[in-house]
């Protein structure tokens, strides 16, 4: 497929093709202090789309005769509200916008996966950008940015609702009572730390694997002309299946955020 890459003579090998597609367009030194420009660009672009919708739509809305985009937005907002009502104890003005933002932003970032894998990178090649990863959620930095933001909110609300001593008590006396304090500390720490790690890795893993399979399918067509038919068939099937995956992952991320924050809002129960 991507015949216009650097090694023009015979085209890239499969490994080169995939490695090329997995390379972020980044600036900075190796290690932590690197900025992935493509990730930032596409996530900001989609954030901009969301901000545009958020800024313009409510002004056009009418309470009596909802139509078009308003219906879609209302359905989404109502859906998120329902999830919060079902799961979240009490009320918190932040939880609604947080859940809605996670759902829509993650969904849009995941949805970039549905664009043909070579489309935007090839356009990038034409204007001289040689590396481009289109799906921001296939970048660990994005998924962990979300997961760590949620994690810091979990800690914040734990301390706010339970009090510093209550939060400490949760580590000391949970889940086995006061006679197994060392075990409790280890267990609770693992439990808490597992939350952001599982959040971040789940989204990353699903999207990365999905993207990788799109690349493998794309390679089919690149191998020979006969590969074109399985490429089209498999690509279609996988894309249709992926519609489910991207919505589901966005939904799960949102749902777990509500669940974790809901747990942070519960008063500590004495053992």
């Amino acid at each position: 497929m991507s015949t216009s890459t650097a090694s023009e003579a015979s085209g890239p090998t499969s490994v080169e093709y995939i490695q090329h597609h997995l390379q972020n367009n980044s600036i900075g030194d190796a290690g932590f202090w690197v900025l992935n420009l493509d990730t930032l660009f596409y996530s900001w672009l989609l954030a901009g789309v969301l901000m545009y919708i958020a800024y313009t739509m409510p002004k056009k809305m009418t309470a009596d005769t909802p139509s078009g985009g308003q219906n879609v937005l209302e359905a989404i907002v109502e859906f998120v509200q329902q999830q919060i009502r079902d799961i979240f104890p009490g009320s918190n003005p932040l939880i609604g916008p947080l859940a809605l933002t996670i759902f829509m932003w993650v969904f849009l970032m995941n949805a970039m996966d549905l664009l043909p894998v070579d489309l935007l990178p090839e356009i990038g090649q034409l204007v001289g950008i040689h590396y481009m990863k289109v799906v921001p959620t296939t970048d660990l930095s994005t998924t962990f940015a979300l997961a760590l933001s949620v994690f810091s909110l979990i800690i914040y609300y734990n301390i706010k609702i339970k009090g510093p001593m209550g939060y400490l008590k949760m580590f000391l006396f949970h889940p086995f009572g006061k006679y197994l304090i060392p075990v409790n500390i280890i267990m609770t720490t693992i439990e808490e730390v597992a939350k952001p790690i599982s959040l971040g890795l789940r989204l990353f893993g699903n999207m990365f694997a999905g993207e990788l399979i799109f690349m493998l399918i794309a390679l089919l067509g690149g191998a020979s002309l006969y590969g074109l038919f399985p490429q089209i068939a498999l690509g279609t099937v996988w894309a249709i299946f992926h519609i489910l995956v991207i919505s589901l992952q966005a939904f799960i991320f949102m749902l777990l955020t509500i669940v974790y924050l809901g747990m942070a809002h519960q008063e500590i129960d004495e053992h």
Partner: protein, 156 residues
């Protein structure tokens, strides 16, 4: 494929996005939807109330109609009764008038008969006197025998 400083940028983006969406999308939309929910509930309650009122009004109306019908029937009965009375009265009046007319006619007839009798008598007296005068000429004094003749005529 490792965690990089992009993370920090994404966290800031996320925070701004949450704030922005909360301010411009979530709050106005949930507000609007709550208002609408309340308005719909109010509207339904009002409709329920209206329905109830309509039922009451319908009940009242049927009662009014029933009363009116009863009154009309009563009026009709009265009118019929009155009509019958008037007819009866008229019949009585007519009968009385007829009888009166008959009596009057009879009286007049009798009067006429009497008058005719009187006039006949007078004429008979005259004719008799004239005839007797012619027969007995001067022997009979009209004045002297007039009373006698009148008696005779009266017996006719």
């Amino acid at each position: 494929m490792s965690i990089t400083a992009t993370l920090i940028g994404q966290m800031i983006t996320f925070a701004i996005l949450v704030w922005f969406i909360g301010k411009y999308l979530w709050t106005p939309m949930t507000q609007m939807m709550d208002d609408r929910k309340k308005r719909i509930a109010d509207g339904l309650a009002a409709a329920e109330r209206g329905k109830h009122e309509q039922e009451l009004a319908e009940h009242k109306a049927t009662q009014h109609i029933k009363e009116a019908k009863e009154q009309a029937a009563e009026f009709l009965a009265q009118a019929q009764k009155r009509g019958a009375e008037i007819i009866e009265d008229a019949k009585d009046d007519a009968k009385a008038e007829g009888e009166r007319l008959i009596v009057a006619a009879n009286a007049e007839i009798e009067q006429e008969v009497n008058r005719a009798k009187e006039s006949l008598r007078a004429q008979v007296v005259d004719i008799t006197i004239a005839a007797a005068g012619k027969i007995i000429k001067k022997e009979i004094d009209a004045k002297a025998h007039g009373n006698l003749l009148k008696d005779v005529v009266g017996q006719l």
